[in-house]
Symmetry: C2
Subunit: 378 residues, 2 copies
């Protein structure tokens, strides 16, 4: 099936909305959180486990896969879905963010960005056209335009220059769509999302949203946030862009975020999120619960018979005590990363499910109140 | 149910035999391979996955659990089975081997062994009585006597002294059995196995087997092998002990070994094996196949569409290419350890199943010939 987005319901008291994305690899109920599978694997997890948790779409990183094992190899192996044994939708980012965050030595030019590999220092060049070629080889259902993730803080002048480059690159990506050799068999055209930049300036966010939507994409991302600014500023920037994005296309807040960010994002009309937070925190022993974050390595849990979260239905909470989990984390066992990741992704997926249900039942406002009332660990 | 062993069949042309061990946590078909769950987890695996593979019994390490998280904690948590969410049989070793192999500073006395923790250098003392207390707190179905694992090489004099200490310690363990506070609920008496030592001297192996069996245990282990000696010598020592062990008790060759060792051990009348080889090798990217060992990190597998082993029924081989596995190993992903361990434990479990089936069908000799014929990778 071709890519499609249907807006199915709008909340009466906020901008929260329900939708359904259709892709060649199945449907996605929105608002949705996308776990990150950087190197063609969501760290510590099998695809079957992700499905059991209820994950409907993954994000994978173009920058990492381009460098290792290489997009040509993945195309040869039948595309990313087949390579990693995941038959549900995938979104790949453009690689831009990683080039900017992993590379001190990057050089941004009109034609694209020159950088060195974080693996071996080898020299590389990514242009809008190259990024499209790579993402076509990977064969994800949704692919992203190359953008410059404006650094924080940045002057207004720098932000304007950066934003305008992002707009020109977006046009070049759109032009190049569908011309590369696709990875994966029998798939339809890939959906291409544009990215709104504009740094921490409300008027530039508006301007960027207007210009990017003029080019016309299958969906719209808000990029360059959660880069060090405070929450109030981040939400202001989301609020500044959203009114200028069309209702009938999905909206994706990139690299965000905490459970609070997801609730605030949904309330502001965001449909899609991704973040390494649930998976990375899990591997460090930080587990998400309704009450807030729980540091499972803490000595207070050494002989605690309770599960991480009392009423949680995840595999970890159904079968293991905090005492056992703490032991695994302290002993640096692989199973610790697995059980922690399982719980955190369940928490995130369940949080999104709870929000969708609340919007459906016209009680998103109550859900949000309840969400904040429960958080007494922090 | 109380511990029991039934010898159900003897091979006509070798000493290979079939049996059934009954424990409070279920039955075990022998000959059996026991995966090692050192720190109350078989590294990278969940209990459900081990069951799917067909694992019927685990080994866990008393030394490690005593030091971390501590046997008292595990008793308080309901015993090792409940702590680690494994409801099938468990065997714990005595901790002796780890004290001897992890500790340069150990001091062996008549009363027991003084040593320092490999974790923090703290000072500890293990005696036969203490080892029984710890293993009773852990609550495994089968527990082991404290022995001195005679170093290799060792003089005849040292070996005799060491062996005699092992015999005296065995008597003390037997005497102490059942007097400690048990971990785990509703379990019957634990089975206690004696250990044959005697270094690399055939007559001492015979003598040790005779003296240990005189004390009378629920099963008999052959210890102190696979410590650096060559294979011929190891098999000679097994051959020297086996005739002096009773037919109606299980025989356990400790810390062994390679697939070849399992086949040779079974042919010599061994019923039980344990070794870290399948799990540890898996994490290093060394995978077992009928043809021999496969180093999956090798560049030759970079774009190999085939599974690790063509006719293998394991989860890894059913779903992933060598190319993807190699990528995971090179990228140092946790899923690499999982998929590798799954395959290797399936290989080991399946090898034991093949041997049991062959003994059942009076074709163990052919099985062994076929086993060696296939091995062309090494």
């Amino acid at each position: 099936m071709a890519f499609d987005f249907k807006l199915t319901k709008k909340d009466l008291h906020s901008k929260a909305r329900l939708g359904k994305i259709t892709t060649p690899h199945g449907q996605i109920a929105t608002p949705v959180f996308m776990p990150v599978g950087t190197q063609a694997t969501v760290k510590a997890m099998t695809p079957e486990e992700l499905k059991d948790i209820g994950v409907e779409i993954l994000l994978s990183n173009t920058y990492h896969l381009y460098l290792r094992p290489g997009h040509e190899l993945i195309r040869e192996m039948g595309g990313l879905h087949q390579f990693m044994h995941w038959d549900r939708p995938i979104l790949t980012d453009s690689g831009g963010y990683q080039v900017f965050s992993h590379n001190e030595l990057r050089k941004i030019k009109e034609e694209g960005v020159y950088f060195q590999s974080h693996l071996d220092g080898s020299k590389h060049f990514l242009s809008p056209e190259k990024v499209m070629e790579i993402q076509e080889a990977l064969g994800a259902d949704i692919i992203m335009c190359l953008d410059e993730c404006t650094p924080y803080p940045a002057t207004r002048d720098y932000t304007i220059t950066s934003m305008e480059l992002t707009h020109r690159w977006a046009s070049r990506c759109k032009e190049r769509l569908g011309q590369g050799a696709r990875g994966g068999k029998g798939q339809e055209k890939q959906a291409l999302f544009g990215i709104v930049q504009g740094g921490m300036f409300q008027d530039l966010r508006k301007q960027s949203a207007e210009e990017i939507t003029k080019i016309s994409f299958d969906g719209y991302a808000i990029g360059g946030l959660s880069v060090g600014e405070d929450k109030v500023l981040m939400y202001e920037m989301v609020d500044a862009a959203i009114p200028y994005l069309p209702d009938d296309k999905p909206r994706y807040l990139m690299g965000v975020g905490t459970p609070e960010d997801l609730v605030e994002g949904v309330a502001r009309g965001v449909d899609m999120f991704d973040c390494v937070m649930p998976t990375r925190n899990a591997r460090n022993g930080t587990l998400f619960t309704k009450q807030g974050k729980l540091g499972i390595r803490n000595a207070q849990y050494a002989n605690d018979h309770k599960p991480v979260e009392d009423d949680c239905g995840c595999y970890t909470c159904r079968n293991y005590s905090r005492a056992y989990l703490r032991h695994l984390f302290v002993a640096n066992e692989i199973l610790a990363a697995r059980l922690g990741t399982t719980h955190n992704l369940y928490y995130y997926t369940n949080l999104m499910w709870g929000m969708r249900k609340a919007i459906e039942e016209d009680r998103f406002g109550e859900f949000k109140k309840e969400f904040y009332k429960n958080r007494n660990l922090e």
